[in-house]
């Protein structure tokens, strides 16, 4: 185990619909312990060999689940997260896209006084290659290794993981933190986890326009960084005021520009790739400079 998830992680699925079932099967193929799922009213039965429960609390009590993966559609997703937090689930990963901001503000407020870590929403999930996958990422792009990888983007994560893996740079844990404006584990918090993780040798940060999470991560690494880091910012060519697919990817006035983020990383001595293809080389160079 690197951070957040590993061999001891026991995963519950909330929302075992078409998408949930498909990915639960892929996760089991990968060796992830999928110990149960919630389907209100179906408690006591099974689906695809997965035991079903009426509530998260019952599922946790019966299975010892310490993580939950949420596919519940947007209108009920916040309630699903609050249920998992209430049941004391340590790690909650929310794939669902399109959750209202006010719902996430409520979830974030409850998170503050809980012991739960939330990844997402609107994210691909997280993977500790070779040990545990909680999410929808194609596992074949990831290899075990020492690169801790944080990303606000989904497909770009797969692309860059593939580039890293092909370059022989395996990953300790990859965390797809999600593309929404309010997320459970913002870039600086995810970076902090990897910075403190003994299994992580170098950190790759994939940010995008919108917000100032990358600036804060850069500040943190400038002050307390223990290992080399490389960054990439997507959306450098995006015009202000336009939402680029992700609800959180928007430049508002002079806030959230790629320029500001690139500058912050550069001032922290962290090289910024101008294309994903440059990342493996920059990581190698950074590791060599140590």
């Amino acid at each position: 185990m690197s951070v957040l998830l590993g061999r001891d992680t026991r995963v519950l699925i909330q929302g075992l619909g078409r998408e949930g079932s498909f990915h639960a099967a892929r996760m089991k193929d990968y060796g992830t312990a999928v110990v149960g799922a919630t389907k209100p009213g179906k408690g006591g039965t099974t689906q695809d060999g997965i035991p079903l429960f009426d509530t998260v609390a019952q599922a946790v009590a019966a299975t010892g689940a310490n993580a939950s993966l949420i596919f519940v559609p947007a209108p009920g997703a916040a309630d699903a997260m609050l249920e998992a937090i209430d049941a004391g689930v340590e790690l909650v990963v929310t794939i669902t896209e399109g959750i209202p901001v006010q719902d996430m503000l409520k979830v974030a407020a409850v998170l503050e006084t809980s012991a739960t870590t939330l990844i997402g929403p609107n994210c691909p999930g997280a993977i500790t290659p070779g040990e545990c996958k909680i999410g929808i990422m194609p596992a074949e792009n990831f290899r075990p290794g020492g690169i801790g990888f944080v990303s606000r983007s989904g497909t770009l994560t797969y692309e860059i993981a593939d580039l890293l893996s092909q370059a022989g740079l395996g990953q300790s844990t990859c965390i797809g933190i999600g593309g929404d404006p309010v997320i459970g584990l913002p870039t600086p918090d995810a970076v902090r986890l990897l910075n403190e993780d003994p299994a992580t040798e170098a950190i790759v940060i994939v940010g995008e326009i919108g917000g100032s999470a990358e600036e804060h991560a850069a500040e943190y690494l400038r002050a307390q960084g223990k290992k080399p880091a490389v960054a990439f910012i997507a959306g450098r060519s995006a015009p202000p005021g336009k939402r680029m697919g992700h609800a959180g990817a928007i430049v508002s006035g002079n806030q959230g520009t790629a320029q500001s983020k690139v500058k912050a990383f550069e001032e922290a001595g962290i090289p910024v790739a101008s294309a994903p293809s440059q990342i493996p080389r920059l990581v190698r160079e950074a590791l060599a400079r140590r």
């Binding site: 209108p75 901001v101 006010q102 409520k106 997507a234 959306g235 015009p239 697919g245 994903p276």
Partner: protein, 389 residues
Amino acid sequence: MKLHEYQAKQVLSRAGIPIPDGRLATSPEEAESAAKAIGAAVAVKAQVQVGGRGKAGGIKVTKTPAEAREAAKAILGMDLKGLRVDKVYVERAANVAAELYLGITLDRDRRRPVVMLSTVGGMDIEEVAASTPERIARGWPSPLLGLLPFAARALAFEARVPEPQRDAVVDIAQRLFAVYRSTDAMLVEINPLFVQKDGSVLAGDAKLDIDDNALFRQKELAALKEVSKDEEAEEKARALGFSYVQLDGDVGIIGNGAGLVMGTLDAVRNAGGRAANFLDVGGGAKEAVVKAALEIVLANQRVKSVLINIFGGITRGDEVAKGILAVTAQHPPRVPLVIRLSGTEAAAGRKLLEGAPLVSKETMDDAAREAVRLAAEGRVKAPATRVKR
């Protein structure tokens, strides 16, 4: 989803926030009778969602109903920063002694709403923040508790709201916070918040931007949605289940995943070109979606080449190929297509595309360079298209 001023003011008024007497008009005659009904000097205000309406001539203050008619005649049909004015709001002119600012939006870093109050009203709050940041008081209410009376009062003291208006402003701030929550707002703003010569306080302008993700439960507000011509393609894409944003370059873009598409846009810029759009087909797009996406991109007459960048995860390369073939099979595309297909079923996809009229590249960077090169060729070949714009 942004509301018009008159719509936003109606929402505020229902929440007990004082607004000037006003009526909507879509013709000079309606404006005249609105002014008559109000029975005082009125402001005739263009209802378009752009900043700086006043400076651009979209607001006129008039003394008589006849003047209001003339003002409406001048404003209706006007082009304000690319948007045609087709309604005006006729509103009793305030007797302004001072202008405040009051707004609530999301503070992403704190994961809380931020309430901003300033006695520097009537100008862009970002300018105030840049020039005199100490003049803006900020508070971050807990979303579970709302804007508590003590916190609203503290803001008024910090912003140095004059004593005679303090209670009214504190009350309006709490009501505005209730609006922020009950309407699922991303932004709600009263700028300026007028202090009239008689000491009363009322909303001079109002902005209300609703979270698109919450429209499913904001049915009444969602019904107010108007799609401008500029946004038609974006709306059409949304209806088809993917995400499209029109940009001003000539390399059409299709990809899967917002980050990858942003990265593709950047790769095009790295190669010296400019993207014509952002288009994310989403995860697991099937043939039909890819076909529709390609049609929307090609419908943009500025487009000189199209770059399709797919990193298959849930999305399968063969489905993408089928979608492309469904378009190219009918008739050869009007501009060259460049594709980079990687990940799940990429080989199958590439096999299906053999012989199709397109260029296939191994990497995103190579594909971007090729698409940019082809777009440049297209510009040379067809300069007429550019002139037509």
